[in-house]
C-alpha cells in the first residue's frame, strides 16, 4: 500500500503519542465525557429499576417476549465486528492501510461487545442466576443444555470478548512502552510501564511479539464469522417464520460487518478531525473504508433479496405471511426504514468524490447505523408478533424503559471509548511506522 502517503516515523510518534500526553481537545473531550457519563447514569438508573421490578418494565409481552434487549444486543454485537475484521483479517491479508485504523477499531469493538454482552444478562428474568449457563461443577450435577443456541451464544460471545481483548492488548504493548518512555510524570511512567510489560524493543521481543500477534489474528478471524453466525442461530434455530432459514448466518455476519464498517468510518472521521490526525488517517483511508462499506452493504442487500426470495420460493404460508407482515404490516416502517437507510444513501459511495468527503461518508455511515438498527428490530419483532396461530398474535410497544436502557448503553459505549482516546494511543504508532518510509 505504498500509494498511501505516510508521514515520517518521527511525525507518527509525535502526532499520536502527543494525544494522550498533551491532550489537544480537552474541552471537547470533557463535554463529550460529561454527556457519556450522563447517559451512563441513565443506564444505571434503568438497570436498577429493572432489577427492582423485573422485565415487566419493558414493553415485552406474549408473543413478543424478546424485544429491545435482544435486538439491540444483536445490533451492538454487529458494530463490534469491524474491529477484529479490520485488525486481524486485513493484517493476515497484508492490507497495511489498516494500521491507521486498527487500534481504535479494536477499542470500539471491545466497548461495543461490552454493551452487547450486558444485554442478554439484564434481559434475563433472573439475571443473578446467569452463572447457570456456565458449565461449572454444580453439586446437583446439572450441566447447561448444549443443544440451546443460547448456550452456544454464551461461548461465542465470551470467546470473542476475551480474544478481542487479548488481541487488542498485545497490539498495544509496544506503544505502551513508547508512552512510558515519553511520559513526563512519574505516575504516568509507572502506569504505562506496568502495562508495557517491560517491553524494551529488543529484536527477540519483536520476534516473539510478531509470532503471537499473527497467531492471535489467526484465531480471531474465524471468531468474527462464528460469533455472529451463532447469534443468528438464536433466531434461526427456532421454528418461527422469518427466522427459520439457512441464510441467517451469512446474512447476520455480513450485516454485522456492514454496520461495523459504518461505525469505524464514523469514528475515524471524528478522531482525525478532533485530534488533527489528517496526516495519518488520510482521505485515501476514507476512500478504502467507503469501498468496503459499499461492498459489505451490497452483500447485505443480497441477503435481503434472498430472504424474500426464500420465503416466496418455499411456498410456506407462514413464511409468506411474515414476509407480508414485514413489507406491509404494522411495523412496515422498520422494514422499509432498513431498506431505505441502509441502501439508498449507500449508492453514493460508487463515486470517489463522495468517498473522499468526510462529511458525506459520515452521513452515509450514520444512515447505515440507523438502518441496521431498524433491520434488527424488524427481524425480531415482525417475526414474533404474528407467528402461527392467529389467536396468539399480538403487538409490541416499547416503553420509556426500553428506550432509556438503550440510550443508556450509548453511555456505556462512549465512556470507556472516550477514556481510551484520552489515555491510550488511538493509532498504532509502531505499525504506522512499519509502513512509513522505514
Amino acid at each position: 500500500m505504498s500509494d498511501i502517503p505516510v508521514p515520517s516515523q518521527h511525525e507518527v510518534t509525535r502526532e499520536v503519542a502527543d494525544v494522550p500526553l498533551r491532550f489537544p481537545a480537552r474541552r471537547a473531550w470533557w463535554i463529550a465525557f460529561g454527556i457519556a457519563l450522563a447517559l451512563l447514569s441513565l443506564f444505571v438508573v434503568s438497570v436498577v429499576h429493572l432489577l427492582m421490578n423485573g422485565p415487566g418494565i419493558w414493553g415485552n409481552n406474549m408473543p413478543v417476549n424478546w424485544g429491545f434487549p435482544i435486538f439491540v444486543y444483536v445490533w451492538w454485537l454487529g458494530l463490534g465486528h469491524a474491529g477484529t475484521l479490520i485488525s486481524a483479517l486485513l493484517l493476515l491479508l497484508g492490507q497495511e492501510w489498516r494500521n491507521a485504523l486498527n487500534r481504535f477499531a479494536e477499542a470500539m469493538t471491545l466497548c461495543a461487545v461490552i454493551c452487547a454482552g450486558i444485554y442478554p444478562i439484564i434481559h434475563l428474568g433472573r439475571p443473578w442466576f446467569l452463572y447457570w449457563m456456565f458449565p461449572y461443577p454444580a453439586t446437583m450435577g446439572v450441566w447447561p443444555q448444549f443443544r440451546s443456541p443460547l448456550e452456544w451464544d454464551i461461548w461465542a460471545v465470551m470467546t470473542y470478548l476475551i480474544v478481542s481483548a487479548i488481541f487488542w492488548y498485545i497490539g498495544l504493548v509496544p506503544d505502551l512502552a513508547t508512552m512510558r518512555d515519553r511520559a513526563r510524570s512519574l505516575a504516568k511512567k509507572r502506569i504505562y510501564g506496568l502495562f508495557a510489560l517491560g517491553w524494551r524493543g529488543q529484536a527477540i521481543h519483536w520476534l516473539r511479539w510478531k509470532k503471537l500477534y499473527r497467531l492471535m489474528a489467526a484465531i480471531a478471524v474465524p471468531l468474527v464469522v462464528s460469533v455472529h453466525s451463532e447469534v443468528s442461530l438464536l433466531f434461526a434455530a427456532g421454528q418461527i417464520p422469518g427466522w427459520h432459514s439457512t441464510i441467517y448466518p451469512p446474512y447476520f455476519v455480513l450485516g454485522a460487518a456492514f454496520s461495523g464498517f459504518a461505525i469505524v468510518s464514523m469514528i475515524a472521521i471524528v478522531v482525525r478531525r478532533a485530534f488533527h490526525l489528517e496526516a495519518l488517517v488520510t482521505n485515501r483511508h476514507l476512500d478504502l473504508l467507503g469501498k468496503v462499506l459499499l461492498a459489505s452493504g451490497l452483500m447485505t442487500a443480497y441477503g435481503y433479496v434472498f430472504e424474500a426470495f426464500d420465503a416466496l420460493y418455499s411456498g410456506d404460508a407462514h413464511e409468506i405471511g411474515t414476509l407480508m407482515d414485514r413489507v406491509g404490516g404494522v411495523y412496515l416502517w422498520s422494514y422499509w426504514g432498513a431498506i431505505i437507510l441502509n441502501f439508498l444513501p449507500l449508492q453514493g459511495l460508487w463515486f470517489a468524490r463522495v468517498r473522499n468527503s468526510p462529511l458525506l461518508l459520515f452521513l452515509i455511515s450514520a444512515s447505515v447505523m440507523i438502518g441496521m438498527w431498524m433491520e434488527r428490530y424488524m427481524l425480531l419483532v415482525t417475526s414474533l408478533y404474528q407467528d402461527f396461530l392467529p389467536s396468539s398474535f399480538g403487538r409490541y410497544t416499547p416503553t420509556f424503559w426500553d428506550w432509556s436502557t438503550y440510550i443508556g448503553t450509548l453511555g456505556l459505549f462512549l465512556t470507556p471509548f472516550l477514556l481510551f482516546l484520552r489515555f491510550i494511543p488511538s493509532i498504532s504508532m509502531f505499525e504506522e511506522k512499519e509502513i512509513a518510509d522505514g
Binding site: 421490578n53 406474549m62 428474568g125 440451546s148 407462514h318 404474528q386 389467536s391
Partner: protein
C-alpha cells in the same frame, strides 16, 4: 375517527380472494387498516409512571383476588370444634386434601359442588360427581366461587349508618320493630330478597308471612329468570319454572335462548346436549339445534343453523312457527331469510312431535314466551322435553311493586336480603328515591354495596362455604351446603337473620336447615350431607295447559336502534364483579376482559365510523350511558347489546370503576329489550384489555371440520426429526380435545386458574398482552365478517410436543422432557431467557414479568393450592398437564402394584368440562379413553407440518348433516 371506518364490501372481497379455509378473529384483521398501528404506536409514558402505577393497580387486584388486608389476623379454620391434636391419630395427615360435598348458588340456583380443603381451608370447588346433574362437572361461576370466600371487601361487621356497630345493638333496635310488627301483623314491613330457591329460606319466609300477614314480600329476579314469571302467569295463570329436557329432544329450536350459555342451567343443558355428540354418537342420534339469536351465544356457535334476528323479530318468528305447527295464530310477515329458516325448523319440529323442543329466551316478551309454550303443547312436548315446576317466586311481589309501594309511602321498614336494587333496578323505578321514604332500611348482604350505603343497617351474611343452607339445582333436586370453614368475619347466616325478624331467640342456621328437612332421620340426614343433596325431594312436574290464543305483545315504538340488555358472560349480574378470576376471564365470544362493552355488528360499527374501543353514547328515552363500542360478528342488524354488572362504585377493589352501568337506560316496563334507542360516537377512546388483533391465515387448518365421522385409523406416521426419540417409560400422557363438543364456556380456564395458582395480573397487564392463563380458549370465525358461517372454540393448553422446540431452546435445562412424555417446567431452574416461548409455535407459555404473587399477607396462602408451586418473578410457566395430579396418582400407585388405574387421572380442565370435550390419559394403554380417541379419524394436531409431534390433539368438528343453509346465511 371517521377516517378509520371499516369497509365491509372490501373485507368480503379480501376474504373471497383467498383459497382454503379462512379464519379471522377480529374485524380489524380483515380491514387491514393502519389505524391500529397508529393507536398502538409507542408513547413514552410520563416519568410519573416510572415507579409504576400499573404495579400498584396490579397489587390492588391481587390483594383482592386472594384474600388479605383485614384478614391477616384471622385464622382460617374448619368450623368443627377446633381442638388441636395432642397425639396425631393414625392415618391422619394434616396436609391431606379433604373433600366435602356442598353447593354454591347462581341466581339462587344451586350448583352442586365438592370443596377441597387443605388444613381446613377450602382451596377449590369442583362439581359433585354423585349429583346426577353435575356428574363432577362445574361451570366457571362454581369454579370461581371459592375466591369470593377470601374477598377482603366482604362485609366484615354490621354497619349502622356506615359505622361499625355490633350485632347486639342491631338486635336491640330490631326488638322494638319486631314487637310492633308482631302487634300490627307486619304492617309497613316490606322484605325484598334476591333470587332464591332455598326451601329453608322460602319456608322461613312463609312462616313470617303467617306471623305477619300485613307484611309484603318481594323477590328480585336474576337474569336467568328475567320475564319467565310474567310469561308463565300469562300462559298458565300461575308462576312456573319451565324445565327443559334437552337430552330427550331430537330437534331443538331456540329463539334467542342460549341454552348452552352462561347461567344456572348451563351445566345441566350442556351435559344433556353433549351426551348426543362426540365420537361414539351416530349422526342420526345427534340433537339438531336451530337458533335464531340476537347476540351471538354458545348455542348459536354450536347450532346446525343459525340466523341473527333483532329482538323485535322474536314475536313474528314465534308467531310464524306457531302458525306452522298449527297453533292457529295468524302468519306473520317474515323476511325471505327468516321465512326459509322458519320453513326449515317447522318441518323439523313437525317431524319430531314429542321429541322436539321449542324455547324462547327468558328476556323476551312474555307474550312470545307464552306462545312458545303453546307451540310445545301443540307438538306434544310438554311432559316430555318440557315440563313445569312450581316457581319459588310464586308468592312474591316483584321489585316494581315494591318500588310502587315505597313511592306511595306504604312501606315503613324495608328489609333487603342479598340483592342490590340500587345497582340493578331500572333507573325509572328511582329505587334510591323510593328507599328514602322508608323510615328504616336494613340491608343484609355479602358486602356493603351501593344499596347498603343507602340503608340504615348493613348486616354481613356468610359466604356459602361458611354457612348452612339448601337450594334447588337446575334439575329441581335439593342440594345442601355446609360450613367448611369458620366464618372469616363477624357475619351471620342469612337464615339466622331472617329468623331474627320473627323471633328474639332464633334457632341456629344448622337447626333451621335441619328442621326444614325434619322428615329425614339422622341417618338419612348424614347421608344427604355426605352426598351434598337430599334424595327424593326433587320437584315434581306441575300439570299445566297453556292458554291459547295468546295476544300479541304491544307493538314496539319503533325507529331507532334496538337495545338488548344481557348479563355479563363472566361476572353475571354484577354479583361476581369483585371476583378477579372472573374479571380476568376473557368473555368467551368477545375475547376481552375487565370491562363491559357495547356489542354491535360490523355494519353498525361501520355506520358509526368507530373502531373497537371507541366510546359510544347509547340513549333511550332521554337517558344515556357511555361505553366502548365492540364489534361482534353475528350480531342482529340494527341492534346493540349492553351488559350488566359493571360501572360499580361499591363492590370492592376489583370491580369498582370498571366499565359502564346499564341501569340508567333500563326501563321497568321493558327491562331487557328496548326499541327506539340511539347510539352515536362520543369521541372517547377506551383501553380494552384484549389480545384482539388476530388474522386469518391462508391455507391454514387450525379448525378442521368434517362432513361425517371418518373411519378410525391407527396413529399416523410421525413427521421426520433430526433428534432421536425420547426414551419412553411407563404411562405416556396425552390429551384429546373434541371440538365438536367444546361450547367455549370457559369453565376449564377458571378451573386451571384455581388448580394451578395462576396469577391474576389486572386490566393493564392483560391489555399489554401479559395474561397468565395456562389454558386459553381461542375463538375463530369463518366466512362472512357480518354473519360468520362458523364460530368455533379451541381450547389451547400446552401441546406437550414430543420434539419440543422449547426444550431445545432452554440453555439451562429448565424445560425438559419427562419419561412420561410431559414437557416439564422446572421453575427453580428457570433463569428467564424466554427462548422457550420465542420458539414455541403455539405460544402457550406465560412469563412472570413482574412479581405477580409476592408481598401478600400470610392469609393469602389460604386459597392457594399447596400442591402447586407459586411462581416468582422472572420465571416462565405453562400448562403442566396438572402434573401434581399425575404425580399424586403415581405415588398412590406405587403403594400398590405400581399401575395407575385406567382413566383415573383427570386434569383440572378435564374434570370440570361440562361437555367432556377434554380427555386426558395414558397413550401407552391402547384401551384408555384418550388412546381410543387418538385413533379417531377426526384426530389431528395443530401445525403438524412443524414436526413437533404434539401430545395434545384435537378432534375435528362435525358439520351438521343438513347444511343447506350455509349459502343463504352469507
Amino acid at each position: 375517527m371517521s377516517g378509520g371506518s371499516i369497509d365491509i364490501p372490501s373485507m368480503r372481497a379480501r376474504l373471497s380472494g383467498r383459497k382454503g379455509r379462512r379464519y379471522w378473529r377480529a374485524i380489524e384483521e380483515i380491514a387491514d387498516d393502519p389505524y391500529f398501528a397508529r393507536t398502538l404506536k409507542s408513547e413514552f409514558p410520563a416519568v410519573a409512571q416510572l415507579f409504576d402505577t400499573d404495579r400498584r393497580n396490579l397489587l390492588k387486584v391481587m390483594a383482592a383476588s386472594l384474600a388479605l388486608g383485614g384478614l391477616a389476623g384471622c385464622d382460617v379454620k374448619r368450623s368443627d370444634e377446633a381442638v388441636p391434636y395432642v397425639i396425631q391419630p393414625d392415618g391422619m395427615m394434616p396436609n391431606d386434601a379433604r373433600r366435602y360435598a356442598t353447593a354454591v348458588t347462581l341466581d339462587g340456583w344451586a350448583q352442586p359442588a365438592v370443596a377441597t380443603c387443605y388444613a381446613g381451608r377450602p382451596v377449590r370447588l369442583d362439581g359433585n360427581a354423585d349429583h346426577p346433574m353435575s356428574l363432577g362437572r362445574a361451570d366457571m361461576f362454581t369454579q370461581a366461587a371459592v375466591l369470593d370466600l377470601y374477598d377482603p371487601d366482604r362485609g366484615q361487621a354490621p354497619l349502622r349508618a356506615g359505622l361499625e356497630a355490633g350485632w347486639p345493638l342491631f338486635e336491640t333496635e330490631l326488638a322494638t320493630l319486631r314487637t310492633r310488627w308482631l302487634q300490627t301483623g307486619g304492617k309497613g314491613l316490606a322484605l325484598l330478597c334476591g333470587p332464591t330457591t332455598s326451601p329453608t329460606l322460602l319456608g322461613q319466609i312463609d312462616a313470617l308471612r303467617r306471623q305477619m300477614p300485613q307484611a309484603r314480600f318481594h323477590m328480585a329476579h336474576g337474569p336467568s329468570t328475567a320475564l319467565r314469571p310474567q310469561a308463565t302467569r300469562l300462559a298458565f295463570g300461575q308462576l312456573l319454572e319451565p324445565m327443559l329436557e334437552l337430552g330427550r329432544a331430537k330437534v331443538i329450536v331456540s329463539l334467542d335462548d342460549d341454552v348452552l350459555g352462561p347461567g344456572p342451567r348451563q351445566l345441566r343443558h350442556s351435559i344433556a346436549w353433549a351426551a348426543h355428540r362426540g365420537e361414539d354418537v351416530a349422526m342420526a342420534d345427534r340433537i339438531a339445534l336451530h337458533v335464531a339469536e340476537v347476540v351471538p351465544g354458545h348455542a348459536g356457535a354450536m347450532a346446525d343453523s343459525r340466523i341473527a334476528v333483532a329482538p323485535s323479530r322474536i314475536w313474528p318468528l314465534a308467531a310464524a312457527i306457531a302458525h306452522g305447527v298449527g297453533v292457529g295464530t295468524p302468519m306473520a310477515n317474515l323476511s325471505p331469510q327468516e321465512a326459509i329458516w322458519v320453513d326449515r325448523v317447522v318441518k323439523m319440529l313437525k317431524q319430531h312431535p314429542g321429541r322436539s323442543l321449542f324455547t324462547i329466551g327468558a328476556t323476551h316478551a312474555p307474550e312470545a314466551q307464552a306462545l312458545g309454550f303453546a307451540v310445545n303443547q301443540a307438538l306434544g312436548n310438554i311432559g316430555r322435553t318440557l315440563w313445569f315446576a312450581p316457581s319459588p317466586a310464586q308468592d312474591f311481589g316483584s321489585i316494581d311493586d315494591l318500588a310502587h309501594d315505597l313511592h306511595a309511602g306504604s312501606v315503613e321498614a324495608l328489609f333487603i336480603l342479598d340483592t342490590n336494587p340500587i345497582d340493578e333496578a331500572p333507573a325509572d323505578l328511582d329505587f334510591a328515591g323510593a328507599m328514602k321514604k322508608a323510615a328504616i332500611a336494613i340491608h343484609a348482604g355479602s358486602r356493603p354495596d351501593e344499596t347498603a350505603a343507602l340503608c340504615h343497617w348493613h348486616l354481613p351474611i356468610r359466604h356459602v362455604l361458611e354457612d348452612w343452607g339448601d337450594a334447588r339445582a337446575a334439575d329441581g333436586s335439593v342440594c345442601l351446603s355446609q360450613p367448611l370453614v369458620q366464618p372469616l368475619y363477624d357475619s351471620r347466616s342469612r337464615h339466622e337473620i331472617i329468623a331474627l325478624l320473627g323471633s328474639a331467640q332464633p334457632l341456629s342456621a344448622r337447626e333451621l336447615v335441619r328442621r326444614q328437612w325434619a322428615a329425614l332421620d339422622d341417618e338419612q340426614w348424614t347421608k344427604a350431607l355426605l352426598a351434598g343433596f337430599v334424595e327424593g325431594q326433587d320437584w315434581q312436574p306441575v300439570s299445566a295447559q297453556p292458554r291459547i290464543p295468546v295476544a300479541p305483545p304491544p307493538p314496539a315504538a319503533d325507529r331507532g336502534v334496538e337495545i338488548v340488555i344481557r348479563p355479563d358472560p363472566t361476572i353475571w349480574d354484577g354479583s361476581r364483579a369483585n371476583n378477579a378470576w372472573l374479571q380476568e376471564m376473557p368473555k368467551p365470544l368477545f375475547k376481552m376482559a375487565w370491562d363491559n362493552i357495547v356489542a354491535m355488528g360490523p355494519e353498525m360499527i361501520a355506520r358509526l365510523g368507530v373502531r373497537d374501543g371507541d366510546g359510544v353514547r347509547v340513549s333511550h328515552g332521554g337517558a344515556t350511558v357511555d361505553g366502548p363500542a365492540w364489534t361482534v360478528p353475528g350480531m342482529a342488524p340494527n341492534t346493540i347489546a349492553l351488559f350488566l354488572g359493571y360501572g360499580r362504585s361499591k363492590v370492592g377493589r376489583v370491580g369498582d370503576n370498571m366499565g359502564y352501568p346499564v341501569a340508567p337506560v333500563r326501563k321497568a316496563a321493558t327491562p331487557w329489550a328496548m326499541t327506539g334507542g340511539g347510539v352515536a360516537a362520543n369521541g372517547v377512546r377506551h383501553v380494552i384489555a384484549v389480545s384482539q388483533l388476530h388474522r386469518h391465515i391462508e391455507g391454514d387448518d387450525l379448525i378442521r371440520v368434517v362432513d361425517t365421522i371418518p373411519p378410525a385409523r391407527s396413529r399416523r406416521e410421525d413427521p421426520p426429526s433430526l433428534y432421536p426419540k425420547w426414551k419412553e417409560e411407563g404411562p405416556q400422557w396425552g390429551m384429546v380435545i373434541d371440538l365438536d363438543r367444546c361450547t367455549g364456556c370457559g369453565a376449564c380456564v377458571v378451573a386451571c386458574t384455581a388448580e394451578n395458582n395462576v396469577p391474576v395480573v389486572g386490566k393493564e397487564e392483560v391489555a399489554r398482552g401479559r395474561d397468565m392463563h395456562w389454558l386459553r380458549v381461542d375463538r375463530y370465525h369463518e366466512g362472512d365478517p357480518v354473519q360468520p358461517s362458523l364460530t368455533a372454540f379451541q381450547p389451547v393448553p400446552c401441546m406437550h410436543c414430543e420434539q419440543a422446540p422449547c426444550e431445545m431452546g432452554c440453555p439451562v435445562h429448565a424445560t425438559v422432557h419427562g419419561p412420561d412424555g410431559i414437557n416439564e417446567m422446572v421453575y427453580n431452574r428457570c433463569i428467564g431467557t424466554r427462548t422457550c416461548s420465542s420458539f414455541c409455535p403455539y405460544k402457550v407459555r406465560r412469563f412472570n414479568w413482574f412479581d405477580y404473587t409476592k408481598g401478600k399477607p400470610e392469609s393469602v396462602q389460604a386459597q392457594r393450592n399447596p400442591d402447586v408451586t407459586v411462581r416468582g418473578r422472572g420465571v416462565m410457566e405453562k400448562c403442566t398437564y396438572c402434573i401434581q395430579r399425575v404425580r399424586a396418582a403415581t405415588v398412590a400407585a406405587d403403594k400398590g402394584d405400581g399401575r395407575i388405574p385406567r382413566d383415573t387421572v383427570k386434569t383440572a380442565c378435564q374434570a370440570t368440562c361440562p361437555v367432556d370435550a377434554i380427555v386426558f390419559g395414558d397413550l401407552a394403554d391402547p384401551e384408555s379413553a384418550v388412546s381410543r380417541l387418538k385413533r379417531s379419524g377426526r384426530n389431528y394436531v395443530l401445525l403438524e407440518e412443524l414436526g413437533t409431534r404434539p401430545r395434545t390433539s384435537y378432534l375435528a368438528r362435525i358439520k351438521p348433516e343438513d347444511d343447506d343453509q350455509g349459502d343463504e346465511r352469507a
